[in-house]
Symmetry: C2
Subunit: 212 residues, 2 copies
DNA sequence: CTTTTATTTAACAATTATGTTAACACAAAC
DNA sequence: GTTTGTGTTAACATAATTGTTAAATAAAAG
């Protein structure tokens, strides 16, 4: 049942999922209201319980999806072999930055919900750890080889490097409402700020790995 | 009325404030329950309304205080003149890092509450912006002078530099529950991780400003 | 066409949270 | 000792929120 009777391209179930995503992303689990979700989706609030039984069910559906996407974003950003190391890293930073720019609310949402209920994260955790370990292993090998060749500084821990990158990429989006006043309020200011930010992050990381 | 009848060093009002801080910091405004706060403070839940009228009042009391502290932490960290520029920055990074290490929940709390209710931030915003502008102006001058002398790279925007620093310092604490699996679960692992992290951030920033 | 299944709605039930009030206790001030 | 102000409690009121159900409607299957 993908189409409803009036021919719209998605069912009410999908409409609820979309509305729930917006509500949960902006207000978190505790702040979200099932009636608001129902209203935004244009359905009676009983529908929500009909399709998903409970608020928790609906929420987990959203959270799981978002954690998966967020994890993948890191893997796909840096999992592009075939480029020279420096280019691979530059490319990874930019891909990851673009992903966050397109999904600026995701990190705050995930961080919060995992923090406020770590057991929700349990299942996902092992899966992510496994995939992450492979990426880390690959990149570490490449870094070590490049270090032997004198192209980059020695003794880099790739886990720390990736954490540098995601910190620099994510935090400005998370903190933007607070730091806005320092960089200007107009939409133009905002765009300029994030363009500049992307370059800043690339520069910072390339300097970090450079052999001096 | 600072002492209660049983001679404890703080009144029930203060006990409520402490309990409220823990509750709000860990669950946010929406997730916090006034009865939980009252129970944790060891008072009847009517007391809470007697002293603070509403949950919102109590919350604002906490949020204002926390925003003030958070803002000050940046200013005091970097507002130490008299040191050579590089040392001043290293010192600032370490001070700021130590502050976050001592208050790891603060950034997530503030970012969330400001995001979910920006109007709460309005009053504070202008005040912070003003103080920030002076710090920024001072540091920018010093950076420009150092650049002319050939000690650091030219054309650094100090706002971006400070944002680099607070991103690197704050994000690892915020994301720790998620990335824990990559760095190990034991308390020892945790401590080792954050010690390493502090050095990583100093290294990254000093390389960022270095004249190559 | 009839039966069955899926979808939708309105009304209601139960629980939980916040906020109020009136009575009570206790100490200090007069 | 009475009054006054502060602190404290239990019980209640109100509103919001989640979840249920039974009946109505539409769609699909036979």
């Amino acid at each position: 049942m993908i189409k409803s009777k009036d021919g719209l391209p998605y069912s009410k179930e999908a409409a609820i999922l979309e509305a729930a995503e917006r509500e949960f992303l902006s207000k978190g689990f505790a702040g979200a209201r099932t009636v608001s979700i129902a209203k935004a989706a244009g359905v009676n609030h009983a529908m929500l319980h009909y399709y998903f039984r409970t608020k928790e069910h609906l929420f987990e559906r959203i959270l799981d999806e978002k954690m998966r996407i967020m994890g993948e974003s890191v893997l796909t950003a840096f999992g592009q072999p075939g480029l020279p190391l420096t280019e691979r890293i530059r490319d990874g930073i930019e891909r990851h930055f673009d992903f966050i720019a397109a999904n600026p609310d995701l990190p705050r949402f995930i961080v919060n919900e995992v923090f406020s209920c770590p057991e929700r994260y349990g299942a996902m955790q092992r899966r992510v750890a496994l995939i992450a370990h492979r990426l880390i292993y690959d990149l570490q090998q490449e870094l070590d080889t490049a270090a032997k060749g004198g192209d980059v500084v020695e003794a880099l821990d790739v886990r720390m490097l990736i954490l540098d990158i995601i910190s620099l990429n994510i935090f400005p989006f998370v903190a933007y409402p607070i730091i806005e006043s320092v960089f200007g309020y107009s939409p133009d200011d905002r765009e300029r700020f994030f363009m500049q930010r992307k370059q800043e992050n690339v520069e910072t990381i390339l300097r970090r790995i450079k052999k001096l």
